[in-house]
């Protein structure tokens, strides 16, 4: 894994909302083919890190490079076209629109390959094809999360950032979602995942970072983090 090229590199990134420093000098990298997990409690800065990478917030200082190009300060729609995408926290699907419309929104910048991508996504998520004309409001929580992931695939991303996919889902559904992420990773997608559910996410990730009040306090391979006494105590409860 170590030989693979660095796809995303975050260097000394600081982000502030007014007076509040949400991220302080964060360093992180994601290599092509990896699943990297960001572990942290509520308010640790996980969502800020992902959204800043996408281009929603402007960093106070530091640099983000993706495919060896600086992307910090570039608006989100251009980064999406460049191969980044985010599956928002809380399954941000458009509930008053149909499943198909949601998927097509994911393809907003990639309408050329829409037919092929739809076919592929339906192959992976047959339930979405069955419900393509249903309004997204009628889907269950797990199905909405699947739709949000499927939608992100429609933009043909190289790095998928997934913000707390397990939030508010039953444990059995959470297992399904992580299985999907591992499967997508095997299909060649690189994944940066943020999670409070440290045990399950580290089980499927290659490497991880622990984020505490805006700072990276620990990083290592998934196995190292799983065996770290601090991580076990704080995030796994063992």
């Amino acid at each position: 894994m170590a030989q693979n090229e660095v796809l995303l590199r975050v260097e000394n990134l600081s982000v502030a909302y007014g007076q509040i420093n949400a991220l302080k000098e964060v360093n992180l990298e994601v290599r092509r083919g990896e699943i990297v997990v960001l572990i942290g409690a509520n308010g640790a800065g996980k969502t800020t890190l992902l959204e800043t990478t996408l281009g929603i917030n402007a960093p106070k200082s530091g640099e983000i490079t993706f495919k060896e190009r600086t992307i910090s300060g570039i608006p989100a729609d251009r980064n999406v076209r460049f191969g980044l995408c985010l599956v928002p926290e809380g399954r941000g699907v458009f509930v008053s629109m149909s499943v198909l419309d949601n998927l097509l929104l994911g393809a907003h910048h990639n309408m050329k390959n829409v037919g092929r991508n739809l076919k592929r996504v339906y192959q992976w998520f047959p339930r979405l094809e069955e419900r393509k004309n249903q309004i997204a409001r009628t889907l269950s929580g797990g199905e909405r999360q699947m739709l949000a992931i499927a939608r992100s695939l429609m933009s043909a991303p190289e790095l998928i950032m997934v913000d707390e996919p397990s939030l508010g889902l039953a444990p059995i559904i959470v297992n399904d979602i992580f299985e999907i992420l591992v499967y997508l990773n095997k299909e060649g997608y690189t994944i940066l995942l943020s999670e409070q559910n440290a045990y399950k996410s580290l089980k499927c990730a290659h490497r991880g970072y622990v984020l505490e009040t805006g700072k990276v306090t620990l990083s290592g391979t998934a196995a190292e983090l799983l065996n770290d006494p601090g991580v076990r105590e704080a995030y796994i409860g063992a």
Binding site: I56, A76, R81, P88, V95, S96, M97, L105, H108, R151
Partner: protein, 294 residues
């Protein structure tokens, strides 16, 4: 019976204009996140532009339509930076400031029309646009060719705009921003550019409405914009602000109701009726008949 049929046709053509106006108004509300109270004034301004072009081109309808569309798009695009400038937070509709700015724009347009064109007197559109002789005449009611044509064009335009909203890529982006601006940004939809597209689209719509109104009414006046603005606001509030499908139903219903009142009671009551309906709806269904969608 003939009165009834004539007035239903009349009402449908008036109603389809209300639908288009409410749709343009709602588009700006949902996608650009502004209350453009003066949108009908923009439309009436474009009627005047069409009138001028008709006069100087020997009644070329094609050029008049193009001029109306261009003028309405330009007016919308010119006001866009003003609106965007005063909006600090693009994730919410700032009703107060955008409404004040919009009222100001409306007054300026009305003043320009009353000082700059035809000495402030109402303008009449040529028979070539309105129709030479009535197609149908029942008692005091007569149906002109322009009225029937405006109904036909109105139906095509309403279907077109709804197809665009529900079946095309920009329409999807509009609806996504309307539902959740932040979510739309997270999937990579550019808010500012899509907002500008909605100004342009409602401008195109405004130009078409200008021509339809000219065909239906046969005249225009500086004060027409304000009258229509009240009606559009009533339609949008009765339907539920931002509710496109609701605007479709209520716009057509109000058009027919007004025409029937005009046919059987008196034309001067039609305004009052729209507002009585609005007051009743606000008393019993404060979110409108079909619900606010903001």
């Amino acid at each position: 019976m003939q009165t009834f049929i004539a007035q239903v046709i009349n009402g449908l053509s008036l109603g389809s204009i209300y639908v288009l106006l409410a749709t343009g108004f709602n588009l700006l509300l949902l996608v650009a996140m502004i209350i453009h109270f003066a949108y009908p004034q923009v439309v009436v301004f474009s009627m005047y532009i069409a009138w001028v072009v008709l006069r100087y081109t020997g009644n070329s309808i094609l050029l008049a339509v193009l001029a109306a569309i261009v003028s309405s798009v330009l007016l919308n695009l010119i006001s866009a930076p003003l609106f965007q400038k005063i909006m600090k937070n693009r994730e919410e509709v700032d009703i107060n400031t955008t409404m004040v700015l919009s009222l100001g724009i409306g007054m300026i347009i009305t003043d320009i029309l009353s000082h700059g064109f035809n000495k402030g007197l109402p303008i009449a559109f040529p028979a070539k646009l309105v129709g030479e002789t009535p197609i149908l005449r029942v008692g005091v009611i007569s149906l002109m060719g322009g009225q029937v044509a405006s109904l036909a064009v109105g139906i095509v335009a309403v279907s077109g705009i709804f197809l665009l909203l529900y079946k095309t890529r920009p329409g999807r982006a509009f609806r996504a921003i309307a539902e959740d601006p932040n979510g739309a940004r997270l999937v990579g939809i550019p808010l500012l550019r899509t907002g500008l597209e909605s100004y342009a689209l409602s401008g195109v719509l405004g130009g078409l409405i200008a021509v339809l109104l000219a065909m239906l009414l046969g005249y225009s006046s500086p004060g027409l914009g304000e009258q229509v603005a009240h009606k559009v606001l009533a339609v949008s509030i009765i339907a539920g602000l931002g509710n496109l499908a609701g605007g479709l139903v209520v716009g057509l219903a109000l058009g027919i109701l007004e025409a029937l009142v005009q046919g059987y009671i008196s034309g001067s009551w039609s305004n009052a009726i729209a507002f009585v309906v609005m007051l009743l709806v606000m008393l019993f269904k404060p979110r409108g008949l079909f619900g606010i969608k903001l």
